[in-house]
Amino acid sequence: MAARAIWKGNLKLNSTKVPVKLYSAVKDQTVRFHILDVKSKTRVKQHMVNPETDEEVPNEEIQKGFEVEPGTFVILHEQELESLEPEASREIEVEQFVPPKEIPPEYYDRPYYLGPDGDSAAYFALAEALGNQKKEAVVRWVMRKQPYVGAIRAEDDHLVLFTLRNAEEVLSAKDLPRPAGRAPEKKELSMAKQLVELLKGEFDPKDYKDEYRVRVMEFVEKKAQGHKPKLHLVKTKRKAASLDKVLSKSIEALKKHKKAA
């Protein structure tokens, strides 16, 4: 099924413009539940109340405030918030090109496919050039009144645009202390290395399936037919053994497994 573009714009690189269309690259498959009122089995709604009086406050009376210190708010009016909105624009401005490893995984937010809008020659040429040079473009644009920072990279023949999180939104491991505790011993280190080497492989997405989602749907379907599927009780156990014993046992088991395969 052809999908509709959610936005159109121009990718701008100096004086060169590449007209593009934006499409969502994801389709959420999460099993969606509604929240119901247990008594009437009808859907619940949300509203804003004053927690002191439990009274509902209608939308038109709600104000927005920024808490400057506990209990003190500066009210921000709709007009003031609107004045902070960026100017509307159809341009995706390229700021710089960097090697992909410069952008850590935690910065990537939502992916979108870019497709050519009209003439596709420039689009495919840019995708090819980005792929050849192994670079990602860092870009800025405004979409639906929101300013975005993003990254564009080539995936096969096409361009993918990611929204990136702001630096302030990401907690950095570099600002955290290394975990406390005794350092592992040499023997343990060499066994751990052996162990991960035995488990080393390629990342192949086809190897992974959401099996739990399937279980939940099967369960829901059975219940819908009036059955009451039995479920097992969950118990949690934890075994303790010395680290090097467990490591050598793991290596043995994996080696055996590899031989058998």
Binding site: G71, P105, Y113, L126, N132, P177, A192, Y212
Partner: protein
């Protein structure tokens, strides 16, 4: 994530990842081989640095609550249940306990059965970032795993069930700490063909060369963090400061009692947790 019922407390409108409290988001176990490493999971991102509160006409902070459409009354946690809509207005009820029991025990551990090169996972998969901290007693095995992965330049990949949803996850080592990136499953990513984006046409080599030249010219070795600045929030904070100095539109309300509404600094929680002091916090 599956819809969670939130209590009146947690459903208040702070919208800030920081406000969730000092407790871990989830506690579980990483396994590699037969080694198990109990860990606590904390959010690795904050959604909003400058969240706005919803206030009433007199400036009183408001709470978001669920209410019944039938009776109009506010509902407590135990007065609500999840329902899957099988027909219009017809639902199959599913309890928390049933969802919990649907996950086999083996699926609850982050079982690292594959290690891959750090750079080999396409970012299309990355969804959300968490920190894994050693939980009591697991420091040594944790350090061993993190240290080995860092030295070998490897990320671990696994699936596991957490709070009513299965996650595909990649574990990255950094600075002796393990970071978990939850990922999309392959069937959650569309292909260009599915969207009907045209297939590649042959393009003149000269046009490709022209773009390559432009790319080289504007390339930098490093990502400029300046690019990742949140300018909109910066402007909002400036406006707030200006109004504050002018004593304009300021309301003071009595501080709520207890911990409710207290904003917790996630970074501090993490630091304590990594130093093995979570219990004392």
């Amino acid at each position: 994530m599956a819809t969670r019922k939130s209590s009146k407390r947690s459903a208040s409108n702070k919208g800030n990842g920081n406000a969730r409290g000092a407790r871990p988001f989830w506690s579980g176990t990483i396994t590699f081989g037969l080694v198990s490493v109990p860990v606590d999971l904390y959010p690795g991102t904050r959604t909003n640095r400058a969240p706005l509160r919803m206030l009433g006409p007199k400036g009183e902070p408001l709470s978001r609550r669920y209410f019944s459409q039938k009776t109009g009354k506010d509902l407590e946690d135990d007065e609500m249940i999840r329902g899957y809509e099988i027909d219009k207005d017809k639902y199959v009820m599913v309890t928390d306990e049933e969802l919990e029991r649907l996950a086999p025990e083996s699926s609850r551990d982050i079982d690292l059965r594959r290690f891959v090169d750090l750079q080999s996972i396409p970012p299309l998969y990355f969804e959300r970032s968490y920190f894994l901290a050693p939980s009591e007693g697991s420091e040594k095995a944790y350090k061993l795993l993190a240290g080995t992965m860092e030295k070998e330049g490897l990320a671990g990949v696994a699936t596991f069930v957490m709070r009513g949803k299965e996650y595909l996850v990649a574990i990255f080592p950094e600075n002796g700490i393990l970071r978990a990136e939850t990922m999309r499953f392959p069937d959650e990513i569309r292909s260009p063909r599915e969207i009907d984006i045209p297939e590649k046409k042959k393009v003149p080599a000269a046009t490709v060369k022209k773009f390559e030249k432009l790319i080289s010219k504007h390339s930098d070795k490093h990502l400029s963090l300046k690019e990742l600045k949140d300018e909109k929030t910066e402007q909002l904070l400036k406006l707030v400061e200006k109004k504050r100095k002018q004593h304009k539109d300021i309301v003071e309300v009595e501080e709520p009692e207890g911990d409710e509404g207290k904003v917790v600094d996630l970074m501090e929680v993490l630091k304590k947790s990594l130093a093995g002091k979570r219990k004392a916090a």
